[in-house]
Symmetry: C2
Subunit: 490 residues, 2 copies
């Protein structure tokens, strides 16, 4: 609901019920009436206090009261939200079950859900999450070549599926990797249900309370969630123009028993930075020296808009210290959930053991579809189409952004994200509140930090909406920044 509507939350000063209780009860009532939808973000305490003409403390108390009743939840740096199932939490006695829970729910950020919610909201121009540009979406082509493939081999769906993956797809992938200087034998490759499942499997195999992982700051939100869910601690390192700061890295490796270093070295999410060849080699030396694994997440290295990026860590690794994750989400589409994990045999064999107990194997139907598509060599052509489409989009972005002196975005050499600087006087979360009201979503920089940095940064994904909507979305940003802030970019 828009800010304006909050002033309809009428309070009665003469009532015996304290004001904070009245607020809490009205909001609960609105939720039950469906007037406030689950997931709605409440205005900040400060602003709600202004709107309702009460003290900040009253709002704080009201929020505490609603939290206790399970009507809202709040999250550091993310705001306060109406709970997904406020009513049921109490009516259905699931409070009984709440204290049966052992999963470290506390360790989970709400930002991921928030970003997914934006993606599902048809009224929003979705610059928060990644999707395949409609003008080059391969869905129809893929499903057509899939059904042709099935007509030719009707027996396919009757074959059992190995946990490690559909064998013909593993063979496609092996060749695909070979063309990228990664030599893997079939027992070093497994198919996972998206890179996220790969990270979950790796986390389960290696991590537990008391373990440490190193990752970039800012970095991939879903990865840090997967790591912390095990009880492990994350050590964050910032980046310079050559990638993760190597001096700080060795420093930490000397101090902490680190299980692995998680990196996105090529067209890094969100900064777009690509690690230099020199630093890649140094990193591999350190991995060898300190006997620590590297988990290389490589979702978009083929989406380069200038020259090809430097070789992957996996292709440079001579000591088998790298676990390599290659998702097809950025090349095909995210909802497909097919990714590849490459690791030493002794690790893959154990990850397969775990996956077998998690979901037996990834869906056959999808694996056969991707195989049908890959085996006909269509993926290369498709990726070339993507590069062209995204180059065009980046030119558009450049045109629109350059009109705004208060918004400075790094136009990346590859990948799917823009990393932008806002005026010091404007926090990205404040801008998000305003943008959402005007129908545009993005990710505030501080959501991607484990140490509270990047309050004045934002991540814009430029691949999901249509070109027109992308243009409109960026213009909306310009308007908001122009209206509200004349300050210099921070």
């Amino acid at each position: 609901m828009s800010l304006a509507q909050w002033d309809q939350l009428v309070l009665d000063g003469t009532e015996k019920t304290p004001l904070y209780k009245q607020i809490s009860e009205r909001i609960e009532q609105w939720v039950q009436e469906g007037r406030l939808k689950p997931g709605t973000r409440l205005p900040s305490e400060r602003r709600l206090a202004e709107i309702l003409k009460v003290s900040r403390m009253t709002i704080t108390l009201a929020n505490e009261d609603m939290k206790a009743k399970g009507i809202v939840r709040s999250q550091q740096g993310s705001g306060t939200y109406i709970m997904r199932s406020a009513r049921s939490e109490r009516v259905e006695g699931s409070t009984v079950w709440q204290h049966h829970f052992t999963y470290q729910l506390g360790s989970m950020s709400d930002e991921m859900e928030e970003i997914m919610r934006y993606g599902l909201d048809p009224h929003l121009i979705h610059l928060a999450g990644v999707g395949t540009a409609p003008e080059v979406h391969p869905g129809i082509e893929l499903s057509q070549c899939f059904s042709e493939h099935l007509r030719k081999n009707p027996i396919l769906l009757q074959l059992p599926a190995p946990t490690q993956g559909y064998e013909p797809l593993i063979m496609d992938v092996r060749k695909w990797l070979y063309d990228r200087e990664i030599e893997a034998n079939p027992r070093e490759i497994m198919i996972v249900s998206g890179a996220m499942q790969g990270l979950d499997l790796i986390s389960r195999l290696f991590l537990g309370p008391g373990d440490y992982v190193i990752m970039e700051d800012p970095g991939f939100l879903a990865a840090s969630d997967a790591f912390t869910a095990t009880g492990a601690k994350i050590l964050r390192i910032t980046l310079d123009q050559e990638g993760i700061r190597i001096d700080s890295l060795e420093n930490l490796l000397m101090q902490f028993p680190v299980k692995f270093i998680y990196l996105n070295p090529t067209f890094h999410n969100p900064t777009g930075i690509t690690m230099s060849l020199k630093r890649r080699k140094r990193l591999l030396e350190l991995a060898k020296k300190y006997k620590v694994l590297i988990v290389e997440d490589d979702p978009s290295s083929l989406l380069y808009y200038g020259k090809k990026p430097v070789p992957s860590l996996k292709s440079l690794d001579e000591d088998n210290n790298v676990i390599y994750l290659q998702s097809f989400s950025k090349y095909l589409f995210p909802s497909l959930r097919v990714a590849v994990l490459v690791a030493p045999e002794g690790i893959v064999s154990h990850l397969v053991k775990i996956k077998q107990r998690i979901d037996l194997h990834s869906h056959n139907l999808t694996q056969i579809a991707v195989h049908a598509y890959l085996s006909e060599g269509r993926l290369e052509d498709h990726i070339e189409k993507l590069r062209q489409a995204y180059r065009g989009r980046l030119d558009l972005v450049h045109d629109v952004i350059s009109r705004n002196a208060n918004l400075r975005c790094h136009i990346p050499e590859g990948g799917v994200f823009l990393w932008c600087k806002l005026p010091c006087s404007l926090s990205a979360e404040r801008l998000l509140d305003l943008a959402i009201q005007k129908g545009v979503s993005f990710v505030p920089g501080n959501w991607l930090s484990g140490v509270g940095l990047y309050e004045n940064r934002m991540r814009l994904a430029f691949t999901h909406p249509s070109v027109d909507l992308l243009k409109r979305g960026l213009e909306v940003m310009n308007e908001i920044i122009a209206e509200h802030h004349a300050g210099q970019s921070c």
Copy 2:
């Protein structure tokens, strides 16, 4: 390799190397030459001692030596196997990574892998695991109606997919459940990648070290693996003709802080027993009294061959204490990996949070395919076809089995398993060794027990092979039992 070949493992009594070392080294050599395939089961110590004409102790020492080198692994009640990746375990320095592992690999049985391996071996008549009978396999029909569906709605694959599941499929499922007296609102339903993922999610949300789960003995192997992987303990209860023994159940509920009771009350795997209505009601009373959840696994209640079974626990539950798992694997085919989880909203909302961090959501392609199939009402007709086909198969089973006085199988009123008694003088594992050599696989009863029962029982799945192969497989069993054993069934 067949038993005969083991005598080619020649030992040299004059050599300085002790005999156990010689054995270990020869076997390692055979593995490296590819002469022994990963997953091969070694003969029992007793029998290998006979073949090689050495003492039992020599074999024990050889096995210990090979285990230490990572050449073989052995599992209580299952035997000793060549490791999946014996070579790599050492060559690729993954021994370094081994002691980085935190996942409780020790808690995982090898039986699941063994059963899957049988399913993937084209030379075996697979009576160990479940599949859809080729004569009624819906794969082709399903993929055709899927591609028609996509042609009509080409936009489908471009839609983002919610973690909770593809909404139209959730709506199909809601109606589907309603027809089975289960009333669920859409927020109480989620789509999971097979019932196994449902069990994994439930285990992660509720279980940790020090927790207790109650389940049937014998019971579903993958379920006990999912539970123990969290560090939780399983309390096992045997069944009588009305299902799980309710007296022992209350006894345990009084003594232990049980998180949930996991049950397969209709056409139980493996015994085929269906819990009586009286006991279902009593069970629900106990769940309420002791504030314990019930997890009802219901994979095959629509595969009844006589009268319809009694209503599900979920449909009888008035206090919202039941989490219901309905897999489509037995109705469509296992490799599809689509199942439904129904639970109180407050639980589903948390399971969705966890799933989001595990694989974001289940594959869109498959969910759309199942929706296309369900929405056209084809599933009902298909299940009727399955019933007819499986009735016919059970008549065949009856004919073949009844010729053998030493093999007594319970012909079930529904489901996909036969539970058979062998002569006391013949253990199911011994029979399995002999059957594998003759190209037939099944599951020994003790693999399904957590307390070492059912050594002379076996589970036969009658749905996977063609009718001819099923007949042949059963006849092979008859032959082996006739040749080797005249004893009474145990």
